[in-house]
Symmetry: C2
Subunit: 677 residues, 2 copies
């Protein structure tokens, strides 16, 4: 109340009668306000909205007639209804060219990635046909090229091999578990999006992902040595040690034909990529290089009858996707394993798709709704699993090609799918003589780009703990297993949050001479302490997990301050000002600790002063009865107000110097706005 009055007082005065305001009134400029009261229901709905709908996807619907809202709702769930009616004929050429280019990359990659997942090559082609069409209906990215991707393929393949154990070698069991896992992945993706829980994928940090992906890339590249060196008897394990052992166990068994083909085409692919990198206009060189390699290698093998000496892809079934819902096992002993696989590949797939989608949306300046994308991928994978497709996502390399080729809308995806369809209907016999080594080379050249030491160095430079997560995930994948790597990545990421939350930063503040600004003494060594007053800023919300730490830290600050050598005549420490600006919320444990601090300070004949508590904090301090104990007059709007008030209460003799200094400096800076601004 006192503060409220003085606040009005200050506002009502003018320059002439400033001198008659009592000193007490001068320093208390504003009271800390409780936010307007809200009912429990209001609080709940606000919180839910901020948690689940931070992007407020329906904000454009307001103030629209209801039939318009219905159309917008349809367009929201089926984005194709939004862009197709607006489609300009001029886009058609762009989309068609982009479709052809992307298809020429998709077909060899699709076959190769299906092999990576231990599935028949034709399943990779199926997965390049249906999923892009479904995505074109539900997805909101204009650039994403949907299809099989390297990381999820190897993850799914590894998981299934572990589930079935080394003794089960029936490819049909493998296929059936792959479809079932894909179905659950789709269901999980759909549920995440529909329940607006998309933020769970944010819990894998960027750094951990970099390490994880690099680890997978290293492991997979090494595994491709099997194909390139033509080794027959190879380990089933995925860790680097076993794989290296398999490679170098018996160099005599390396197949010189595959080595020659491998090295030639690897040089060709990497060379084309280098050219494309240097000259952006030649991007199509690296895009069509894989299909060219496949064509050349196949022709070579066919012409030289080399198929007797190296393994080839063999018979591919003609015709488009056969239905596969009969192979989904939604009951039985493997269901829980399929669910687990589904969750893992769903999350990895979404992370890739959404990261890629956002990157290109940001380049073209349109918006991607993460939760809506999850619904789209859920639909893609659920439909796919019923039509002989395995898990698909938005693949980085093909999306980049799609974008470079000038795609305008998802129609390019449909064109791509149609070309894959033509391939499936008519061209599959052509792949009969394709040597497997060429698929290994394509995988190798695609995955080698996922190893990003520059980014790892950047992470090291910026944040050491992030680097630890990156390194942990990398080593976990390389030397143990993909699951362990993922587990390490998540554990370090969440552990870091918890550590930060339980050991929040605190800083003692000092006044920057000549201003009314208070800043960390550590960061601004020129900031000066105020005699008799200790100012501490708490840089985090006060929770059960850090409240004990905060109490101990404050006790130490006070002891250190009391132990400092005093200037002659300087008064003892009388006030502890807590700057609560960064404190977003406080829970019951925090209130307990604040109460203890208050009691301990009183025992030491010191006074606790709070500065600038936020809306939620002041509300809870009131509701918890803390304000009644502390007294409203010890809560200030700014640190400066609090310092002025406290300084006045200190014995006068040792404060005169300080105050004169302060006022003089203040005037210099604060007089400025009078002139012209």
């Amino acid at each position: 109340m006192v503060q409220k009055e003085s606040h009005d007082h200050v506002n009502d005065t003018d320059l002439d009668n400033v001198e008659v305001i009592s000193i007490k009134d001068q320093v208390i400029s504003q009271a800390v306000q409780r936010p307007p009261a809200k009912s429990l229901l209001q609080t709940f709905s606000t919180t839910s909205k901020e948690t689940l709908f931070p992007d407020d996807p329906f904000r454009h619907f307001r103030n629209k007639p209801s039939h318009r809202q219905a159309i917008m709702l349809m367009q929201y769930f089926f984005p194709i209804l939004d862009w197709l009616p607006k489609y300009k004929l001029g886009f058609l050429k762009n989309d068609f060219i982009a479709g052809i280019t992307t298809a020429s990359l998709s077909i060899p990659q699709g076959i190769a990635y299906a092999k990576l997942a231990n599935l028949p090559p034709v399943v990779g082609l199926y997965s390049c046909f249906l999923p892009p069409m479904v995505y074109a209906i539900f997805g909101s990215s204009r650039d994403l090229a949907v299809g099989p991707a390297a990381v999820i393929s190897i993850v799914l393949g590894t998981l299934i091999r572990e589930d079935l154990g080394p003794e089960v070698t029936d490819p049909r069991a493998h296929l059936s578990l792959a479809f079932t896992s894909t179905f659950f992945a789709g269901l999980f993706q759909f549920s995440l999006g529909f329940l607006r829980l998309g933020f769970v994928i944010d819990f894998l940090s960027h750094a951990a992902t970099v390490g994880f992906v690099a680890g997978v890339a290293v492991a997979v590249c090494l595994q491709q040595m099997r194909g390139i060196l033509g080794i027959q008897n190879f380990t089933k394990k995925s860790d680097v040690v076993s794989v290296l052992h398999s490679i170098f166990r018996d160099p005599a068994h390396w197949n010189w034909r595959t080595v020659v083909i491998g090295i030639c085409f690897l040089t060709f692919l990497l060379g084309m990529r280098q050219i494309s990198k240097r000259n952006k206009k030649l991007f199509w060189l690296s895009a069509i290089a894989p299909v060219t390699s496949v064509f050349l290698a196949t022709v070579c093998v066919f012409a030289t009858h080399a198929n007797e000496h190296l393994s080839i892809v063999g018979q591919l079934r003609k015709g488009i996707n056969p239905p596969s819902f009969k192979e989904l096992h939604l009951t039985g002993p493997l269901v829980s394993k399929a669910m687990k696989n589904g969750v893992i590949v769903a999350i990895i797939g979404l992370m890739e798709a959404i990261a890629v989608g956002r990157t290109f949306a940001s380049i073209k300046n349109y918006h991607i709704d993460g939760n809506k994308e999850m619904i789209a991928f859920g639909m893609v994978n659920m439909t796919g699993s019923c039509m002989s497709c395995y898990i698909t996502t938005g693949a980085m390399s093909r999306t980049a090609v799609n974008n470079s080729a000038g795609c305008k809308t998802s129609l390019s995806c449909i064109f791509m799918a149609l070309i894959v369809m033509v391939t499936l209907l008519a061209l599959t016999p052509l792949f009969h003589y394709t040597p497997n080594v060429i698929l290994s080379v394509i995988i190798f050249s695609a995955l080698i780009t996922l190893i990003d030491p520059v980014e790892a160095y950047h992470i090291w430079k910026v944040d050491k703990i992030d680097f630890l997560a990156c390194l942990g995930a990398f080593l976990g994948v390389c030397f143990q297993s993909i699951q362990l790597g993922l587990l390490i990545a998540v554990a370090i990421s969440i552990g870091k949050i918890l550590l930060h939350v339980s050991r929040p930063h605190t800083a003692t503040l000092g006044k920057i001479a000549g201003t009314s600004i208070y800043r960390s003494i550590e960061q601004y060594p020129k900031a000066v302490r105020i005699p008799g007053v200790l100012i501490v800023r708490i840089d985090a919300s006060i929770y059960f997990s850090n409240s004990n730490y905060i109490r101990e830290r404050l006790t130490r600050y006070i002891e250190e301050e009391q132990g400092r050598d005093k200037l002659p005549g300087e008064s003892a420490l009388k006030y502890l000002i807590l700057d609560l600006t960064p404190v977003m919320t406080i829970d019951t444990s925090g209130l307990h600790v604040l109460g203890e601090i208050l009691r301990n300070l009183n025992l030491m004949e010191m006074q606790l002063v709070l500065a600038n508590p936020g809306a939620e904090v002041i509300e809870r301090l009131h509701r918890g009865g803390f304000v009644d104990i502390l007294g409203q007059r010890w809560i200030f709007l700014t640190v400066d107000d609090a310092v002025h008030y406290c300084s006045m209460q200190l014995p006068r003799d040792n404060n005169v110097d300080n105050h004169e200094d302060v006022s003089e400096c203040d005037v210099i800076v604060q007089i400025i706005p009078k002139f012209g601004l």
Copy 2:
């Protein structure tokens, strides 16, 4: 550089030449400083110190001669060396009386709690003898009465019963697993303290603990109905439904003798407690009530030969603790279960002991070091497990009695232990005829106090999610099992942290008229927006888990601001000022997102401006190369500086009004320090 110069400029000027400073110079008062550079090793050691030694326990050691340091180190690890030499003879009477009073409560409670853990009653007495003596050597609390406690006893008993399964009824297997679990509990407690990882116990929030303890109390109280009603055939399950079913299945089998004895003594115990509560001087009434009840009930049973009709304690072995290290199973199939039990009871035990210890330390104004206490309890339980004691901790009720009885030092614990020793050596035959019903009554009356609806209401009032954790833990324990309750408590507590971290609070700021203060418009409805400028404060560190959210939220703020009805002549939104005061740190994901925001703003022809980044943030912005992209000149020390600078860049016509208003008000408030302060 520009800012640095202007900063010096402002400081060098005096009132006379203020008018000649260019407008640009006037508004930029201070540059944001990078903190002094630190080497990796320095950073690492600072971080480790803040994480593991926040209380800096060895700070008093500095600047002391080395022999003094050696003595202090011994005193640190053996606090008895600190207080015993300083002991005053005047304390002896207080400690002795406190010891007797506490012993009179400990003996019946010890017997009763051992039964709660399904252990022979004499083990409860053993656990009241050795552990307090060991604690007196290692512990730093002057008040803690160490011994068996209700919650850990029931938890240990339940866990062991589950481990052994219903078919194993061999009491020796039970005892042996109890000792082994106690040993691992001690080892875990010791390791936590020694590795300074005590903060892990902070992850069980106050609210969750309240719910968990209340749930345990309800479950245990209901179970005591078995003893009070004299039911023979009782469920082994601990959930409320099974227990209630057992109680009311067959009221005909209730034993009227036990019911009469039970009701009489329960009334007596609760009555004494009420009297003690009303009159603090009569605290000893409730302290000696249990032992009186035991005495009276035993005499009654002995005199009336009622032992034929109700169950009695029976033969107790005479003599002090026999060694039990031969019964510790450190190998074999049960070791992993013993470890799991050990970890659970260790954490619950520490939470109780440290909470109780801190409460009384705070009352008497001395300091408790949590990690040191953990070492002490680790020693207590490891020694105890080798000498026939089961898990012990600092019990709330006995500590309160010890304190009320006027204890001065841990010597009261030693006196208590000596009295228990006398009991063990000479008085155990007296307990032969003690009816079990009286033990149930003692447990019932002790546990009923742990149900605290007032605190639950307080939690509800302050924090709804805390209340959810409280309720979840309560219901989990009541209706399922102790482990589930604990799991719910931890999951909700950590889930809350993660939710808060991934959905941080953000606020649009406005200027409080007549000041240079910027506050949340939601909290301070009078705060006014600055035309053409959007000011957003981010109230948390920017992590991988919230960086996407922050981008989406900012996008929405900008769209909302652009969609607002403009005043005539008001300029379009040109600047986004991010107040980074509460942002303690930023990781690589955060930097990525900041970069994206910057690019998106540039596409919209807007400018990103940062205000007051903290030491770690500015350091990382530099190291991540973000400052180079943004430009140092767009980073300001205060929001006010940033606003002034931005406002000046906006088209002049629509700003004149606003600025004149601002400057006039500013002068009124800012002129104040000139007068007298």
